[in-house]
């Protein structure tokens, strides 16, 4: 029982960290550029598809991963230059519509280019199999462990970037008051392009890392978009710290809550019901958490704007 919880805790951590990769980009774009980007999940999907496609040609996971990140960051930069720059000046409604349109276009384009069948992105050979965390009791897949390690490293890197570098200072200034930052001499347009490309690259990283665990398919962007949005609303739009805390919270509730609720339900009802209702309650709990946060603390747990 303890080890089951530990294992689920690790799974929650892993899911939370992957959510963080998406939420970090989303919250920056949201906070700094003030654009509501429904198409963020599409960049994640594109990243995963590119990684899978590169892998088929190169047969090298690491090279495919890096290439996918670069290519997706490039696509992000292009999108920022051509579309998002204009959207910034428009109403939220226009942003919702335009990025909804982007989702439709991205889904359909991916279907045309890669076909409707899910692509396979295998686990790299050297990461096959589990490692033993507690002797004879707790085994954990190597690849999932790698995802956790990468996630922690990226979170650390982002923390240093945002809090210890000049670009990070500009980003924070842009998130708390973009107009003032521009007046104080921050060149805001290149900063936007950089932030957007960074967000897109992080999406691709998440897509390429999760590719071997989930199927790389057309709907994958939308299924992770909603949790990512919930994360940034819970954490406070524009706040990196909020994105991290929110991601881990959502990851844990969704993963550990799923198991705990199912177990609890099994104690009071038949297993079939418990197995179907437990996961749903966990998903709903995340939405309810967001509703509660918005109700009691509309600016999120860690508001970026003072």
């Amino acid at each position: 029982m303890l080890y089951l919880l530990l294992e689920q805790g690790l799974n929650g951590l892993q899911y939370g960290l992957m959510l963080f990769l998406l939420a970090a980009g989303l919250t920056l774009v949201f906070g700094i550029m003030d654009v509501i980007n429904l198409a963020h999940g599409s960049l994640y999907m594109i990243g995963a598809f590119l990684a899978a496609a590169f892998y088929q040609h190169l047969e090298n996971y690491l090279a495919a991963l890096l290439l996918a990140i670069l290519a997706t960051a490039l696509i992000g930069a292009l999108l920022e230059q051509t579309l998002y720059r204009r959207l910034q000046k428009m109403s939220h409604l226009s942003q919702v519509l335009a990025t909804f349109a982007l989702i439709l276009i991205a889904n359909e384009s991916v279907k045309i280019i890669f076909g409707a069948q899910p692509l396979m992105l295998p686990v790299p050979e050297m990461l096959y199999g589990p490692i033993e965390l507690v002797e004879d009791e707790l085994y954990y897949p190597r690849f999932r462990m790698l995802i956790i390690v990468v996630g922690v490293l990226v979170a650390l890197g982002l923390y240093l970037l945002v809090n210890r570098t000049r670009i990070g200072m500009w980003m924070r200034a842009g998130a708390s008051n973009p107009g003032m930052a521009a007046v104080m001499g921050v060149r805001i347009q290149p900063l936007f392009t950089f932030v957007f490309a960074l967000g897109a690259g992080l999406c691709a990283l998440a897509g390429a890392l999760l590719g071997p665990l989930l199927a790389v398919n057309v709907g994958m962007g939308e299924s992770i978009l909603i949790p990512a949005f919930e994360v940034i609303v819970i954490g406070g739009i524009g706040s990196m710290r909020g994105a991290l805390v929110g991601s881990l919270l959502v990851g844990m509730i969704d993963t550990v809550g799923r198991v705990l609720l199912t177990l609890l339900l099994k104690a009071v009802s038949d297993p079939a019901t418990a197995n179907s209702v437990g996961p749903t309650l966990a998903s709903m709990a995340v939405s309810l958490l967001m509703v509660a946060v918005l109700y009691f603390r509309p600016q999120g747990l860690f508001p970026a704007r003072g």
């Binding site: 409604l93 519509l97 359909e108 384009s109 019901t273 749903t280």
Partner: protein, 323 residues
Amino acid sequence: MPSTPTPLTQGLPSAWSAIGVAVALAIYPLLMSVAGQDFYIGLGSRVLILALAASALNLVLGYGGMISLGHAAFLGIGGYTVALLAQGGSAPAWLAMPLAVIAAAAGAALIGAVSLRTRGVYFIMITLAFAQIFYYLAVSLRGLGGDDGLPMLARVELPGLSLGDDIGFYYFVLALAGLAFMLLYRLAASRFGRALVAIRENEQRMAAIGYPVYRLKLAAFTLSGGLAGLAGALLANLSLGVTPHLLTWHQSGILIVMVILGGSGYFWGGLTGAAIYMLLEESISTHTEHWNLWLGALLLFIVLVAPEGIMSLRRKPAKAERA
């Protein structure tokens, strides 16, 4: 006469145009029946139902300026209510339809009461989150059929009119949608409608004047949810069942798309938008399976060129003069 219509008078049709639309809609199935195009009668019903849903959204989005990305929830509540009532065989229309509306309106009142305390982006996200909760419920509850949804053996029953027949059902839809449109028209022309538009234009000022802004918005949201529920109930009858697809956020997005296509804040915006959308879908998807690609491109074009909807293009020159 002012060069641009003020927000208060904009988009309210004349009585003649309303009568014209009503007559055209009433003879449409007869024409199709004579022409032997029975397929288009069912399509007509679908357009009318979606027009009703889009108009309901238009009330909060266009008139009230509340961007709800969760109206699929109300479609779903209405649809599932009717489907549940019909599980025992067939339900009488006079019972099933009002219950669907009441259930959806009650849902909207609850969701609205919480959501309307937030604004802007947060309102968009919280309505989306609520709709997701209903989606998860529908997918997982076995009583609601899970992924497969609930099939209906027959449409609701109305003495004197055979709703199983396409033309009969069309007139049933037309009658209910007509009633809803009359209600919406009266509302838009009333003090309530004008206050709603004024809140969209300047909420702070309306609050300062002493209008109960929150209550007015909640009333509009509840009403809109109820009408969307009616549309959902009709949709369930049309397709003889409901699936969780009705509750996806994609559906909420499509409703917004319809309102924008037709013109948000214009009385006929919902009807025009639903008609344009269905027409495009029917005509484009016969030529290519990639209809979503074209829809996306069209949407982007509209956002970048005519961000206030196709109807606003007519007003462009006047705006340029002012600037």
